[in-house]
Symmetry: C2
Subunit: 128 residues, 2 copies
């Protein structure tokens, strides 16, 4: 296992405490509270390293900045297209015939992770 720099460790430790899909900016502000000298580019660069190392997930939004999530047990995300709220859900795609259909139609084998669905959440639906 590769050694992590102090800054990289700090970033990972803060993400471990968070359960609200923080943005890079969120993480930057939190880490900066403890390590005022840290720079934004260090946060961005290390977030990419942590994604590559499989420690965290990057969630690409249809609008606004990317969000990050510690890899705990496998789960998926569903995003409200009105308010942008992200909710977790667990659904074992392995068991589903979706995988088979995709393989047949496109030749792509999905991993079951990195999947984002979209919809309108109940809060927003009530406002319509």
């Amino acid at each position: 296992m590769k050694n992590y720099s102090r800054q990289r460790e700090e970033i990972l430790r803060e993400i471990e405490k968070l359960y609200n899909h923080p943005t890079a900016e969120d993480i930057y502000m939190i880490v900066k509270g403890k390590d005022p000298a840290i720079s934004r580019s260090t946060v961005y660069r290390n977030l990419n390293v942590l994604v590559e190392d499989g420690k965290i997930n990057k969630i690409s939004m249809q609008a606004g900045p990317d969000r990050y999530d510690l890899k705990r047990q496998p789960h998926n995300h569903i995003i409200c297209t009105k308010c942008g709220k992200i909710l977790d859900f667990d659904y074992n795609f392995e068991l589903d015939n979706l995988k088979k259909i995709l393989k047949e139609q496109t030749g792509i084998e999905i991993s079951g992770e990195g999947i984002a669905l979209e919809g309108i959440c109940s809060d927003c639906k009530n406002l319509l």
Copy 2:
């Protein structure tokens, strides 16, 4: 039905001819070939209008610019995370218990559209 401006019509007509999920820039270059005075902001603005009017879909990518697609029959997209290729597939989420599970766990009712999956396509898999 609202009247569309000449530029808006031009943009929609070009998207009707394309089956390769063009970006706003792609569309801008094509329309500019026929109407050299058109501006980029006109293309962006009208793409948003066409999405709101339900004429086209916007596909948000995990990397790079958004892509657009005429709304023909309902279908979903799967994106290769290596090469960025976008493939269509049709899978009727209405028939699936995914919808039920999502409703139970998150309160969100998905529309069955605007869903993007990710994986690694067979071309890229061969290169690994």
